[in-house]
Amino acid sequence: MRKNSNFFILIGTIGLFVCINIFLMASGKLPFSSDGFGIILGAGLTLAIYSFLYKDNPAFKIAENLYVGVSLGYTIIITWFNFLKPDLYDPLIVPIFSKTATRDPRYALLIPSLLGIFMLLRFSKKLSWLSRWTFAFVVGLGAGVSIPRVISAFILEQIKPSLNPVFSGGETMLSSINTLLIMLGVISVLIYFIFSVEHKGAIGKVSKIGIWFLMISFGASFGYTVMGRLSLLIGRIQFLLRDWLGILQ
């Protein structure tokens, strides 16, 4: 019975959507062209994705699979035009096989190409061990590149602005309080993230202050991001009401 009602809701919704679009095209609110069909497709997919708010349904599944498929196709094209073609095909393959090529082949590119091929060997049971060389290279390189960047971004860039004078003469009372507050926040949060000392007594109290600082900052961040999300929702609703239904001008 429940399945039947869901089926009728789905059919009813699709029927209503089709009728609305026929009316919009017949009344000239939507042009009978690729633009008009593009708007209908966009509206349909938007509603299909939003239908997940009711429950999982075939319309959502279609939109979901379409989304995943399109993104995969898009990624393949991006990978070819942004990476493989300019970084491998043009500088290595073309100069080797084309007689009209003006540049010498860059044979150094064979090394990363080989590492890439090793990744594909994961499909072979006998040779899949070679893919570990690539992983070792990628993970090692990633960690190596990250270390100085992390030290710079998370230690140096954070410490320097925290080392402000509290009372060198030029400060106002409020700026001194601000500096002290920042210092208290940084130190208490750092203490909260100390794991090898039990958070009891003085350490426990300071780490609790740290949690307060964290939660206040999370609250501010939450509010800021929710406002951003609302603007995205407004954008979608505007698309539905203005571009599709023509209610908003």
Binding site: K55, P148, S162, N164, S168, G219, S221
Partner: protein, 420 residues
């Protein structure tokens, strides 16, 4: 005679009135406010290779002139030949801009930096298309230009741009790395000798066992959701490490683990990690590589697909570990609606509020890095964690002393931690 007297009187008044008008409208102060009457050339015009770069830039410096003014420009002409025509304009700046104070990485924090101008020239861009030697010397002439006058300095400065192997201003970064590495190595050795090191309770990690136990009892899968960053990200490295610990426990419990990925390399690494964990648990037969799979490589298709998996397969426990962006709330909200126990761990501070509000437990920032040590209690990881704590202690001391010294006007600690 009378006519002459009248004429003199009339013209005298006229000249007097004209004089008054001239004084009112063309008083020197008024004239100076619009443009200076003369140009005083600057001194100490020098060129040198910009330090700590890849050999692309040449720095030029000269003293400020008393006639520096927004309407007066410094123009630098360059040539490859000392006796050349110097027709190429390398740079043009207003004479009241471009001081040494804006580049402390070259000149430090000396007081006299405000008395000197500084500009950077990229000669290879200026001479683009021309044949240039590796040690090509470039010559520069400084010209001071007012509206209709200009002065060319006699001094011709020269320099060649060379790459540097060592960025001396990043030595503080290197020193911190060496000091922290030494502390980490020391504590790893220490932890091997004394494996029962204390670790404070982390609520989110204590709940991992409960979540896995619940999944085992319910016969439903455990879903491990990776963040969006690749293997170059420290949070992803931490996530794969946690995945290994979770997979090991799942292999012990004989539960079902599903790992969704958005990056093919992360997927391959995750497959290896899970496989290794099943081997460690003595259950290689239970490992199914198809359970560690790529869902979508784009952000929102990934969200749509993972959301679909959550609603259809209804996992008993969801783990969101790694670096997340806007998808965090959608994923966690969908997971919460399915009734799964949810544990999140991320260092993406903008997404942490969403995980805190929608997940049962959240590992905040550094707790994500500590998770691996906490779950495994391996001496190496425990030693690393203790060393990180010591590092934080050092930072706290630096912050307190640095602020105190800065308050007394001693800023050398502040400058020590400059990131260039």
């Amino acid at each position: 005679m009378l006519l002459i007297l009248i004429m003199t009187s009339v013209f005298g008044k006229l000249f007097f009135t004209a004089g008054i008008i001239f004084i009112v409208f063309f008083h020197p102060s008024v004239i100076f406010a619009q443009s200076p009457p003369f140009l005083i050339p600057p001194a100490d015009f020098k060129a040198f290779d910009t330090p700590n770069d890849a050999g692309e830039a040449i720095s030029l410096t000269w003293s400020v002139s008393p006639s520096d003014h927004p309407d007066i420009f410094y123009v630098i002409y360059t040539d490859k030949d000392k006796n050349g025509s110097f027709e190429k304009e390398a740079i043009r700046i207003k004479s009241n801009t471009g001081y040494r104070t804006s580049v402390p990485e070259i000149y430090g924090y000396k007081k006299e930096n405000g008395d000197y101008h500084h500009v950077q020239i990229f000669p290879r861009k200026i001479f683009q298309g021309e044949t240039l030697g590796k040690k090509q010397v470039y010559y520069f002439k400084l010209v001071m230009v007012a509206e209709d006058t200009k002065i060319t300095l006699d001094t011709i400065a020269s320099a060649s741009a060379r790459g540097n192997w060592l960025h001396t201003k990043k030595i503080n970064n290197f020193a911190i790395m060496i000091i922290l590495s030494a502390i980490i190595l020391y504590f790893i050795v220490h932890a091997r000798k004394n494996p029962n090191m204390f670790l404070r309770k982390i609520g989110g990690l204590d709940a991992v066992d409960d979540a896995l136990g619940r999944a085992t009892e319910m016969g439903k899968p455990v879903l491990f959701v990776h963040g969006l960053t690749g293997m170059g990200s420290i949070s992803t490295i931490a996530a794969t490490s946690i995945l290994g610990r979770i997979a090991r426990k799942i292999a012990d419990y004989d539960a079902n683990l599903k790992v969704v990925n958005n990056d093919p390399i992360v997927m391959s690494v995750s497959q290896e990690v899970v496989k290794e964990s099943y081997l460690e648990a003595g259950r290689p037969d239970a490992y199914n590589p198809d359970n560690v799979f790529l869902v979508a490589s784009e952000q929102f298709p990934y969200v749509a697909a993972v959301g679909g998996i959550m609603t259809r397969e209804r996992p008993a426990a969801n783990f969101f570990v790694g670096y997340f962006y806007a998808e965090a709330l959608i994923l966690a909200e969908t997971g919460a609606s399915t009734g799964a126990i949810q544990i999140a761990g991320t260092d993406a501070y903008t997404q942490l509020p969403f995980f805190i509000t929608t997940c049962d437990y959240t590992l905040i920032g550094e707790e994500l890095y500590a998770a691996s040590a906490y779950l495994s209690r391996e001496p190496m990881l425990m030693g690393t964690l203790r060393a990180q704590d010591v590092g934080k202690g050092i930072l706290i001391i630096i912050l307190i002393f640095g602020t105190l010294l800065a308050s007394f006007g001693l800023k050398f600690i502040t400058h020590l931690f400059e990131a260039f």
